[in-house]
């Protein structure tokens, strides 16, 4: 059921028709198991390998470096925990370094690892008021026992981009022999040219549904020379790195999504950047409003705003009533808006952080949509401030 104004692309992007079309033949009737040897199996296998080539090109990797996974969370988990476990076993590397603003897919993976393996210590690099990683602190946290470092390409809540090249060179300068650097490129994938931006990262995670593909379909790039332990080994698929029958439809869907994204990347980036400026400027004028990290390098699609003294729950409720889909921080499993760990790490005051709203656009967002949204948000804010 489509809301009138969909400003929650960062949570999930509308499923593209070309994705649905590409997946259809692989979603009914006989779909061979790609691991088999007969004709149907080979056909399925071929579809997977063609998809793999496309995903590899999209991220800037070799096909052999691409692992298909069941989604972004799994990719991140594999990229952090799979790598850490391997390096702990082979090199006694027991330190994991992550930024304070990582998505819970990374934070919880690291925390669980440390819980299950008490010798593993997780170190959290702080960020500045824009949410950008402190490189000096990163340098200090790197050591000879660093198993893996994980810093996202861009933040899913605020859209702020991290200086990946500087991060990877810092890691290589301060870990003897270097350490694998994983980057969660899930939020960045709709907007940035990943081959350029993530070239120096050894591990890159993406997922399909942020770029108009299906849910529970993702990929992890593991560049040559980096080894990891499979989280789910059984079956040996994906060169022993991710067990389970490869989901042909999911892989094909991901490939169709990356194909469409790559094709339109430049045009969409330019057009939405204009919309971002339009929307952010209007938001900044609302009483008590502050556009988050407005001076930092950000993804074009995200306009993150905090409204001092207001509550996200109330803003989102009233926006929803008026046909606007938006979000606050990450939702937890209960569906309640959580206090954002990202805003907290950035030093945003709690009274302001409580009134956070993330408006995220996509390829199909129009100027008319933005103009309508501006009026609705202004009205909602005016109402809440009057009733407050």
């Amino acid at each position: 059921m489509s809301p009138q104004y969909y400003f929650d692309h960062a949570a999930s992007a509308p499923r593209r028709d070309e994705v649905v079309d590409a997946m259809a033949p692989w979603s009914h009737g006989v779909v061979g198991n790609p691991s088999g040897s007969h004709r149907a199996a080979r056909a399925a296998r071929r579809a997977v390998e063609e998809a793999r080539d496309e995903v590899a090109a999209f991220i800037g990797a070799r096909a052999s470096e691409v692992i298909f996974t069941g989604g972004g969370t799994e990719s991140c988990h594999l990229g952090v925990v799979g790598v850490a476990l391997h390096h702990r076993r082979h090199f006694d590397a027991t330190s994991v370094v992550v930024s304070q603003v990582e998505h819970h897919a990374v934070l919880d993976a690291a925390a669980t690892l440390s819980r299950d393996f008490p010798d593993v210590k997780v170190h959290y690099v702080s960020v500045d008021e824009d949410g950008v990683v402190d490189l000096d602190e990163l340098a200090q946290l790197c050591s000879a026992t660093t198993a893996v470092v994980s810093v996202m390409t861009a933040n899913n809540e605020t859209g702020v981009c991290q200086p990946l090249d500087a991060i990877t060179s810092t890691v290589f300068a301060h870990v003897p022999g270097g350490a694998p650097v994983h980057t969660d490129a899930i939020a960045a994938a709709p907007w940035l040219h990943l081959p350029t931006v993530t070239a120096t990262a050894g591990l890159v995670s993406i997922c399909a549904h942020k770029i108009g593909g299906p849910v529970n379909s993702g990929a992890l790039v593991v560049r040559e020379g980096i080894s990891l332990d499979a989280l789910v080994p059984g079956g040996g698929q994906e060169r022993g790195r991710r067990g389970g029958t490869v989901d042909v439809a999911a892989a094909v869907g991901l490939a169709a999504a990356v194909r469409a994204t790559a094709r339109d990347l430049t045009e969409v980036h330019e057009r939405v950047t204009d919309l971002q400026l339009r929307l952010a400027t209007a938001m900044a004028f609302l009483p008590g409003a502050k556009v988050t990290a407005v001076g930092a390098l950000r993804l074009p699609g995200t306009v993150h705003v905090t409204f001092d003294g207001l509550a996200s729950d109330e803003l989102l409720f009233l926006l929803d009533q008026r046909g606007v889909a938006a979000a606050a921080a990450a939702s937890c499993s209960s569906g309640a808006a959580q206090a954002s760990h990202v805003l907290s790490a950035m030093g945003v005051a709690p009274e302001r952080a409580r009134g956070a709203v993330r408006l995220s656009m996509g390829a199909e967002t129009t100027e008319a949509d933005v103009d309508a949204l501006i009026l609705i948000v202004a009205d909602v804010v005016r109402h809440l401030r009057a009733e407050g």
Partner: protein, 353 residues
């Protein structure tokens, strides 16, 4: 009317929502996210949110989750810990009702355009000559008017209590009729933020350094035992303080955390006929009660109300008709009408003598 129903995921609030929807109101359900920590007490956990959400879906109403965790932590949990640290016996469910459910939630409902807030409490709102009054729920064993005793007539005006007229079995039957999966869900038992395997003891231990105390017989002044935590001892309690040398049970008459001293005595020695009230906490639902007024006083959630007379001097207190076990300072006392014992007249917090 546009009604916001607080849905805990339990059968009572499920049926409250169902009844209002069937009556033709525009109902929206909201589950409050209050406690972020570990808990299995059966209220407002993620599983409970799932139940509330599913019930809402079956009823065809919107469901939202509102995060009041910060306020809950400050005004309910911190208050609970603080009260215990001072040797008082708090009632966190009442604090939650007072500050979160019937304050923050009502304000929010107003801002979001609702005409009323409804809950699944076993209590009723009735009309009397001088205005609205809160009355006990029809099922005496489940009556929750005690935890709502602080509500004034003006607050009652914006409130709906759809299941107060039903007995618990009737509530469950209604839920089954509506096809709600919570129809046979057990009622939540203890405080929502305390895990049953740790109990109050474990919870407080993680937040306070607990004070060991000597148990002293008030008659002989002999030290008759020790307790590991004075903060966990409740005035009036019999459990855990053993029996006296004469084989008769002892009851706690006073707890002094600072001095590390718990005083006990035989029933006849410690029972009271007078309950001191903290004037600052006295609230009346409609008209103020005064010196000499007769009341029925209840000081625990499922206790029996005692007949008493309200007195103002030297300080506000109740003269009980019959002696009672000592009551714990910090406990809430609710006044029910002596003419109509199911009607709530007001509330006050008990203070130490």
């Amino acid at each position: 009317m546009d009604v916001l129903v607080a849905m805990s995921g339990g059968v009572d609030s499920s049926v409250a929502a169902g009844r209002l929807a069937e009556a033709g109101h525009r109902v929206v359900g909201a589950t409050l996210k209050l406690w972020g920590g570990e808990s299995d007490a059966g209220c407002c956990s993620v599983a409970d949110v799932d139940d509330a959400r599913r019930v809402a879906q079956v009823l065809g109403i919107e469901h939202h989750v509102f995060n009041f965790a910060e306020e809950f932590e400050r005004q309910v949990v911190d208050h609970f810990v603080d009260a215990h640290a001072r040797g008082l016996t708090p009632n966190p469910c009442i604090e939650c009702n007072r500050h979160v459910k019937f304050d923050l939630l009502i304000d929010r409902a107003h801002r979001l355009g609702f005409d009323a807030v409804a809950t699944g409490h076993h209590a009723r709102i009735v009309t009397r000559e001088d205005g609205l009054a809160l009355a006990r729920g029809v099922d005496a064993r489940k009556d929750q008017s005690y935890v709502l005793g602080f509500l004034t007539a003006s607050r009652l005006a914006g409130l709906m209590l759809p299941i107060g007229e039903l007995t618990k079995p009737e509530v469950r039957a209604e839920a089954a009729r509506l096809g709600l999966r919570t129809w046979d869900k057990p009622d939540s038992q203890d405080v929502c933020f305390i895990e049953s395997r740790h109990g109050r003891d474990g919870f407080l231990r993680s937040r306070l350094t607990l004070t060991e105390a000597a148990v002293v017989d008030r008659e002989t002044n002999d030290v008759v035992g020790h307790v590991p935590a004075a903060e966990l001892v409740t005035v009036g309690q019999r459990r855990g303080v053993g029996v006296g040398a004469d084989g008769e049970p002892r009851y706690v008459s006073r707890v002094d955390v600072a001095a590390g001293r718990v005083e006990v005595g035989r029933r006849e020695q410690v029972e009271i006929t007078r309950v001191l009230l903290d004037e600052a906490t006295m609230t009346f639902a409609r008209r103020a009660l005064g010196d000499g007024d007769r009341v029925m006083a209840q000081w625990s959630a499922h206790g029996t109300a005692q007949t008493a007379t309200l007195r103002a001097t030297p300080r506000w207190h109740l003269e009980l008709d019959q002696p009672a076990r000592p009551v714990a300072p910090g406990q809430t006392l609710v006044f029910y009408s002596s003419d109509e014992p199911e009607i709530v007249e007001g509330t006050a917090t008990i203070c130490a003598p």
